[in-house]
Symmetry: C5
Subunit: 261 residues, 5 copies
């Protein structure tokens, strides 16, 4: 028992040091810059968790929060509740950092907590952000449209992993750009209500892209995706979703609370 | 033990408040209007449930009923028994509300009960209802046929998730309408014995549509589906079912009773 | 303990009543008539069963037999041992009745026994029998051949679920009939040693047909299937088997005995 | 305890009777003749086995050996270790007999032992041996080559299940023979170092063929398969492996010993 | 307890003998020569491990280290941490030796430790190294480029299993070489930052190739794979990844430590 207390003290010391040595990672910057690594890690809570008693659960929740704190100078973590809207996961974490190994180190520590040990990691998607590929050559009016400020504080989140077919990659850059212009044109109507972010995954995962969306209007989102199914670029989606992760943005505390009932 | 009693009292207080503050959601309206969100959540009962003793089960069943009551002002829930007719699920809930997050909140509470913790969520399908797309342009006689009142009080239910191929979405609206007219023509014979309802899923799930049927005559239903396989639109079904969920409409009490034996 | 005895007495009373009120369902008639519903339910015995003690197992076996007896006026059930010949199941039940809900009610009761709770339902196929579709228009000599009496008392059983492609269903009735005539011609050689039965599944399951075979000569059956692979209709089998269930016909007692060792 | 001793005595009595009544099945003959049924049954050891104590394991091992002995007059069983070389199985049994039900009866008894109950049957492939189909019409020099005696005492074994596409089966016998001659030509170089055996599976499993290989030189085997990928017949392999089972031939005792550590 | 001590002593004796009798296998040589067998074995830690107490875990870790030591004269083993970057595995071992059975014997012993028994083997890929196939006929300037020394001490590792389609294998050697030259040309830019190694798998696994990469720059790796998707040879990849295993190179001690928290 004493060993444990010492361990806790050491942990606190490490956190304190971390907070002094380096400030918190700049989330806003990470979400805008190219060259940032993202890991989407989805989890389901296993049977063993529900067999733990209240006090053990409460302790485990504190342990998770400490792990989040310990990595605050390296990674930025967003938390999303999926339970109820997909059988694939209970929740997922979106982790951003400047080096993939920082994502891994955070997730390894998270999965090493008592709570983490009760989880099943159901899906993990890795990606990297890049400078825009096709947009610089789009017509000026489309470029202007794309400056529409995205919505803030949306409750819903949708993650769509995508894999293109060989024909897509073997097209000329111009042919691909023409198709992406058509694709982008179809999104203009929804720029005000749907925020999107793109990650490149080829080689980092069994995917080519991860597309991430936030919105308050799922009816608009259904219309947007229907519009995107109707452009020629859709012929080259070997995989679109499978799984689509639909969830709601919720603070860590709320997710831990829901899982601990 | 005292903590528990207080918790129960608070729960009752919340329910009472809910019932006063807002009336029950209007099920009939929800089932007719566009812009309504539906979540089909299928479950299988896990091993741990059968190891619980009678009293614990009875308490868990009461807990489930309270959760249903607590959400009665936001969601309408239909219950269906699948066990025996598919290995995919023991039962599924069809949840309707005006906001997807209300479906999620209900299901999260349901899955947080002692009964819910013993369940495995095997499949979840999300959709939204919309105004009719092709029907307004159908010939008048077909439109008249479609006014045939559907059957009431049918025991059987069939859920068929559908995904269309890229060619379907890239066809002109007219070409799609011609095919849907042919499709609809094939259903006329069965309007009197089979009730159907359509949900749009693109972007909300790894599906494009959820089709939901109620009937007392499964032989008619087999004939209807065979007829639908014989129209050209069938060439564009990348996924039809997989899984088809065949079940019977049963009250919550009966399903809980069957699962608790 | 007393509660249990009373329960047993009531159960016996119910069975007695059932046997008086309605006679046993006519198995021979069910196996010949159109409009009969069949459910093939395959099961694997779970770990928990082998941990039960001898007496509990013996009690559970009696419980299963009572469930079979209780439904004897509605459903006819055949039992088949798969263990050893497929990793997909230990055994499967073939259930026939005039209403699908009777199949469900029987299987729900079966799965609610102590033995049933230890089972994993690995596959379920639903179908309906129908009047012959193509045979009436076959040439007279082929029709005469088809009157060959099938073998009786065969030990082996094979179930092959089948799904046709869209092109099959979009062919003209004549084109389909020509192909089915070729298909049927290939079976003539084996009519004496292989008994077959067809169920229609479209809309009732993720299948179009369930084909069921009984034989004492598996070498003939291998030759028959090879012959059927060589007719043009085979081009339109999107799914053929997957899984094929190969087993042996065994009485309920023997299957329960094998599973209870 | 006394009950157990009596059981053992009875078992011994039965074995003794079996050994007297019928001699051991002739393995060499079974491995050469047509019309012999083979079942390849692959298993993984479950968690519960490692929780058993040493003595219980030792008893269970003896039980397995008795089951092998009891069926020695009907089936011939070869044992192969897969663990380490595939995640699909720990070991597999290759069972031969004159009637498929004898394979089943042996495997049912094997799976009914304490060891068997701790196993998960991960894959089962059924086949039948037949007289050579294409070889009789091959040119004389190729036929002469095929008489090369295969290697003996090879340590490695590879099982490759194969399924052909519809086009293969719809080709003329001559076209198929031309392709099989090309296929066979590609194997000549490896006849001295690789032994092969073919089983026909259509209708007995979700396969058309099981190909079984023994070799001491896996580099040669890699070259052989690469050569077979380069003949036209390869275009018609809808499934080749999936899973390939690569293992080593080991006596039953060694496999039981490895699994019991 | 005494039995255990003796066992340990014997083990030590065996190790001592092994170290005397044969020196450690030459890792550098194994990693360069043709005709070397590689087994990539990926594992996930099961629930039972986290239920073991600290002391039992510590003992189990020592047991694993002894197994590594015991095989040091036959196999060379590299260890990689996957947890956090893929849901497919927690870690994987890359095992090299001159005979596949040595890989198997090492892995069987590893999986027979207390730690090994708590693992689930999630994926295993087998391959063999060969002399370069196409490079000798490449133009001199490309051959010169290929002599660029690969990076050393890279933290990231990526394993990509690959399966080619039938058309690839049926092309002429010249046509394949032209495509491989184009493929190789696309890699030149990344030779300085990405190290690669190729294994041939046809017949040894459900794969044709295993490609193994080490890098410190995952952004370069994403660019490399994107470039490889854009050459014609990509049309013939029936499988590319699925799963891609992305991880970091970590010493055995660190991996055991992470898994034992």
């Amino acid at each position: 028992m004493q060993g444990r207390i010492i361990l806790v003290l050491i942990s606190i010391a490490i956190i304190a040091f971390a907070r002094v040595a380096g400030a918190e990672v700049d989330r806003e910057k990470l979400l805008k810059e190219p060259g940032v690594y993202a890991t989407f890690a989805a989890f389901k809570v296993g049977d063993q968790w529900s067999h733990m008693d209240k006090q053990a659960k409460a302790g485990a929740v504190e342990e998770v929060k400490r792990v989040f704190q310990m990595h605050v100078d390296k990674v930025s973590v967003d938390t999303h509740l999926v339970r109820g809207l997909s059988e694939k996961a209970d929740f997922f974490l979106r982790v951003h950092s400047k080096e993939m190994i920082d994502n891994q180190n955070f997730l390894v520590d998270f999965m090493g907590t008592s709570f983490g040990k009760a989880l099943k990691n159901t899906d993990t998607f890795n990606g990297i952000t890049k400078a825009l590929n096709y947009v610089p050559k789009f017509p000026e009016d489309l470029k202007a449209e794309l400056k529409t400020p995205p919505p803030q504080g949306s409750p819903y989140v949708v993650v769509v992993p995508i894999r293109k077919d060989a024909e897509w990659w073997l097209m000329s850059q111009d042919a691909r750009m023409a198709m992406m212009q058509e694709h982008t044109g179809a999104t203009v109507l929804y720029l005000k209500t749907i925020k999107r972010k793109l990650y490149h995954s080829s080689g980092l995962d069994d995917l080519d892209f991860i597309t991430y969306f936030e919105t308050a209007k799922l009816d608009d989102f259904n219309n947007l995706v229907t519009a995107l199914l109707q452009v020629r670029e859709n012929r080259h989606n070997k995989r679109f979703g499978e799984p689509i992760l639909l969830g709601t943005i919720r603070p860590l505390d709320e997710i831990l609370d829901i899982m601990s009932r």
